[in-house]
C-alpha cells in the first residue's frame, strides 16, 4: 500500500501544512490586486509571496523557484526517516514553468541551460543528495496529481520504495502576460462555480508529499488508493463540453459516493472549466457529495495545485471538515452538483482530488485515511490484472526517428529532400496533407505529431476510432524552450508588448500529447515528462509503471526534443503491453 508519511505547504498564508489549513479554515487568503508589478501594462489579482517571504526562502546560488522547492522539501523531510540517498528513493518534481522567469534576463536567454526544468530538478536533487535521477512532470495544470499518480505507480511496481513529490511554481511577467492574452484572469477575487465568475487568479506556492510503500496498516495513515489521467481528445485549450476526460478520469478511481467526505475539484473559476467539471461530476453520478474548490484562497498555483490541494483536503478530513468554497455564492454551472460556501462537518474518511488542464488532460486521485483504505480493492483496480504482480514490460512494435538530417521508420530510411524544419513540412505534405492545424503547431509539436503519424501509418490499423486504451507518454530535455523564447520576445519590449495566445499555449510541452490525442480521438492517458538528459532506464521505468493504468494496453511513447527550429530529435515508438 502506498502511504503518505509527511507533507508540507509553503504559501503566502503559511509555512507548514497546518498553518495553511488553519488559515484556509478561517477563510483567509493572500489574493490581492497588483498594479505595475513586473512592469506589466495591465493590473492583475494574484496570491504572491511578499518580498520579506521571498528573502526568508532565498538560498545562495539557487533561483527563487529552486529555493522555494528546497524549503518545502526540507520541511517535509524534517520529522521522517526517509533515506533520500538510497537508490530506492526518487524525487518527482511537478512544475509547469519552473525557472522560466530567468529568460527575461538576456544572459540566460542566450544560454538557457539553467532555465530547463530538468536542470532545476537536478540542482534540487543534488542539494538533498538523491542518488537517483529526478523526474519532472510537466502536464500543464494537472501536473501535481499526475506526479502523485506516477509516484504511486513507481512504488506499486516496486521500482522504488520512497518518493518525494514536490509541486511548485513561481509567478512572473511570463506567466501572467500569457494568461492575460488568454483573457482568462479575473480582475478581482475568483468565484469558483459561481454564476458571476469571470476567470481565474494565479498563485505561488510549493507543496510536498512524501510517499512510501508500507506493509503495516495504521488507523490514522493516509493512503493513495487510486488515480488516473485521461484526455478530452477535443481541444488544446478549451475544455470538453461533455467533460469527457474528467468523467473518464473519475471512472478510473472506483470511488463510491457514500464513502467520500467531498470532491475537491479544480474549480479555477473560468466559465468553461467549472461548467465542464460540473458536467463530468454529474455524468459520473456524484450528485450529493459536496464539491469544493480552493482557488478562492490560493489562486491557481499551477504545478503546486494538485499537491497543495490534496494536502489541504487531507487536513480537512483529519479535522472532520468540508472546507467552504471561498468566492462561491450562487450556482452558475449546469451540472447537477452540490457546492457550498460554508465549512461543514463530515465523518467520511476519503476524498477525490480532480484537476484538468491545457492539452485536454484531466487527472483524478482517490485518497483515504485508515485501515479500510490501506488495501482497498476498487472495481477498477481489480480490472488491472498486473496490479499485484509487479511491473509488466511492453514490446516495441514500430519505431521512428526524425532528426534534421532525415527520417527512419522501422529501420528503413525514408527518401526526403528537405533538411531541418522544412523536413517536417515535407513529411506533412507527403503523409497527411489534410490537417491544416499542423501549420498552427510550433516546431516541437510538429515534430512529435509527424512522428506519431508515421508510426500509425506503419501500424496500418484503422484510424480515428475513439479509444481509451492507448496512452501518449512523451519525454524530453528542453521542455518547450522554443515557444518559451518566442513568448518572452513578445513581452520584452514595453512599446511592442503583444503576448500571443497561440504562442503561449505551446509553452506547455504536454500540448504535443494533446494534439496527438485530438487527432486520433484517444481518450486514454496523456503525460509529458522532462529529464535532465536522455535516460533509457528512467524512461522504461515510467513506461512500465504506466501500464498499471486500468485501461492502457499500448503507448505512443518516446523522446521528442527541440533545441532550436533546426536542431531537433524525435525517437518515438509504439509499445504494446505484454501479458
Amino acid at each position: 500500500m502506498i502511504s503518505v508519511i509527511s507533507h508540507n505547504i509553503i504559501s503566502p498564508i503559511g509555512d507548514t501544512s497546518l498553518q495553511n489549513y488553519s488559515a484556509v479554515k478561517a477563510g483567509n487568503s493572500a489574493l490581492s490586486r497588483y498594479e505595475g508589478k513586473w512592469q506589466l501594462p495591465e493590473p492583475f489579482f494574484a496570491s504572491l509571496f511578499t518580498d520579506q517571504q521571498n528573502r526568508a526562502i532565498q538560498l545562495d546560488g539557487k533561483t527563487r523557484f529552486e529555493s522555494l522547492v528546497i524549503a518545502s522539501i526540507s520541511k517535509a523531510l524534517e520529522n521522517v526517516s526517509v533515506d533520500v540517498h538510497s537508490p530506492r528513493s526518487i524525487l518527482i518534481l511537478s512544475t509547469t514553468k519552473g525557472n522560466v522567469e530567468l529568460l527575461a534576463d538576456s544572459s540566460h536567454f542566450n544560454n538557457p541551460e539553467k532555465e530547463l526544468p530538468g536542470s532545476a530538478a537536478n540542482t534540487i536533487a543534488s542539494h538533498f543528495g538523491f542518488s537517483t535521477k529526478p523526474i519532472v512532470v510537466c502536464n500543464a495544470c494537472i501536473s501535481g496529481v499526475s506526479a502523485l499518480v506516477l509516484a504511486r505507480r513507481l512504488l506499486e511496481s516496486k521500482l522504488y520504495d520512497n518518493a518525494v513529490v514536490c509541486g511548485a511554481d513561481v509567478q512572473s511577467a511570463f506567466i501572467v502576460s500569457g494568461f492575460q492574452s488568454f483573457k482568462a484572469l479575473s480582475p478581482d477575487n475568483c468565484r469558483p462555480f459561481d454564476e458571476s465568475r469571470v476567470g481565474l487568479n494565479l498563485g505561488e506556492a510549493a507543496a510536498t508529499i512524501v510517499l512510501t510503500r508500507q506493509t503495516e496498516v495504521h488507523d490514522n495513515q493516509w493512503y493513495i488508493i487510486s488515480g488516473g489521467v485521461r484526455n478530452d481528445a477535443n481541444h488544446i485549450s478549451g475544455p470538453s463540453r461533455t467533460g469527457e476526460g474528467s468523467y473518464r478520469a473519475l471512472l478510473t478511481l472506483g470511488a463510491p459516493e457514500e464513502e467520500l467526505a467531498f470532491i475537491n475539484a479544480h474549480g479555477t473559476a473560468t466559465l468553461y472549466n467549472d461548467e465542464m467539471e460540473s458536467i463530468a461530476l454529474d455524468r459520473a453520478g456524484y450528485h450529493s457529495v459536496t464539491i469544493n474548490a480552493l482557488k478562492g484562497y490560493y489562486g491557481h498555483t499551477m504545478g503546486a495545485a494538485g499537491i497543495l490541494e490534496t494536502i489541504i483536503s487531507m487536513c480537512a478530513v483529519d479535522d472532520n471538515t468540508v472546507i467552504a468554497t471561498r468566492g462561491y455564492e450562487k450556482k452558475g454551472v449546469s451540472g447537477n452538483i452540490s457546492v457550498s460556501n460554508i465549512n461543514a462537518p463530515t465523518d467520511n474518511q476519503s476524498f477525490i482530488k480532480l484537476l484538468s488542464g491545457f492539452g485536454g488532460c484531466n487527472a483524478a486521485l482517490w485518497v483515504g485515511r485508515g485501515a479500510d483504505y490501506a488495501n482497498k480493492k476498487t472495481a477498477s483496480n481489480l480490472n488491472a490484472p498486473l496490479m499485484q504482480q509487479g511491473c509488466s514490460k511492453g514490446s516495441v512494435t514500430h519505431r521512428v526517428s526524425i532528426t534534421p538530417e532525415g527520417v527512419t521508420l522501422d529501420g528503413v530510411v525514408l527518401s526526403t529532400e528537405q533538411k531541418g524544419k522544412a523536413l517536417l513540412t515535407e513529411l506533412y505534405k507527403a503523409n497527411v496533407g489534410d490537417y491544416p492545424k499542423f501549420y498552427k503547431m510550433d516546431v516541437m509539436t510538429r515534430l512529435g505529431f509527424m512522428a506519431s503519424e508515421l508510426l500509425l501509418k506503419a501500424e496500418g490499423k484503422e484510424r480515428f476510432t475513439p479509444c481509451e486504451n492507448r496512452a501518449v507518454i512523451l519525454f524530453n530535455r528542453t521542455s518547450s524552450l522554443i515557444a518559451d523564447k518566442a513568448h518572452q520576445e513578445s513581452i520584452n519590449d514595453p512599446a511592442a508588448f503583444f503576448p500571443s495566445p497561440s504562442v503561449f499555449v505551446y509553452t506547455l510541452p504536454n500540448i504535443i500529447t494533446g494534439e496527438i490525442a485530438i487527432r486520433n480521438k484517444y481518450y486514454g492517458e496523456t503525460s509529458f515528462y522532462i529529464l535532465e538528459q536522455y535516460d533509457e532506464t528512467v524512461i522504461n521505468q515510467v513506461l512500465e509503471a504506466s501500464f498499471l493504468d486500468t485501461h492502457t494496453t499500448s503507448i505512443i511513447a518516446g523522446w521528442v526534443d527541440c533545441e532550436s527550429e533546426e536542431l531537433f530529435n524525435a525517437q518515438m515508438y509504439i509499445v504494446e503491453k505484454e501479458y
Binding site: S181, K183, H235, G238, K440, P499, S500, P501
Partner: protein
C-alpha cells in the same frame, strides 16, 4: 464603409497570424462566417484576432465576448477597423 484595400489587408493579416497556409486572400469570402464552418477557426484564433487588432490597428477589445460581432466575417472586421480610423 471599408474599402476593398482594407478588406484585402485584413485578409492578409488573418492569413498571417492564424497560419492559414495554402490559403490566399481570394479564397476567403468577404461575408462568409469566419468561425464554425467557414475557415474552421477556434477559440484561440479568436483571441489571436484580438491581438492582431491591437497590434496592427491599435484597437483594444478588453472583453472577448465583444469580439463575437466584430469577428463575424472579414467585412465586419474591416468595418470595425474603418469605424475606429474615422
Amino acid at each position: 464603409m471599408a474599402t476593398a484595400e482594407l478588406i484585402n489587408e485584413v485578409k492578409e493579416h488573418i492569413i498571417d497570424v492564424l497560419h492559414l497556409e495554402d490559403i490566399t486572400p481570394a479564397d476567403i469570402e468577404n461575408d462568409a462566417p469566419l468561425f464554425g464552418d467557414g475557415l474552421g477557426l477556434d477559440s484561440i484564433d479568436a483571441l489571436e484576432l484580438i491581438v492582431m487588432l491591437e497590434k496592427q490597428y491599435g484597437i483594444r477589445i478588453a472583453n472577448p465576448a465583444d469580439g463575437k460581432d466584430v469577428f463575424k466575417s472579414v467585412t465586419s472586421i474591416a468595418e470595425f477597423v474603418a469605424s475606429h480610423k474615422a
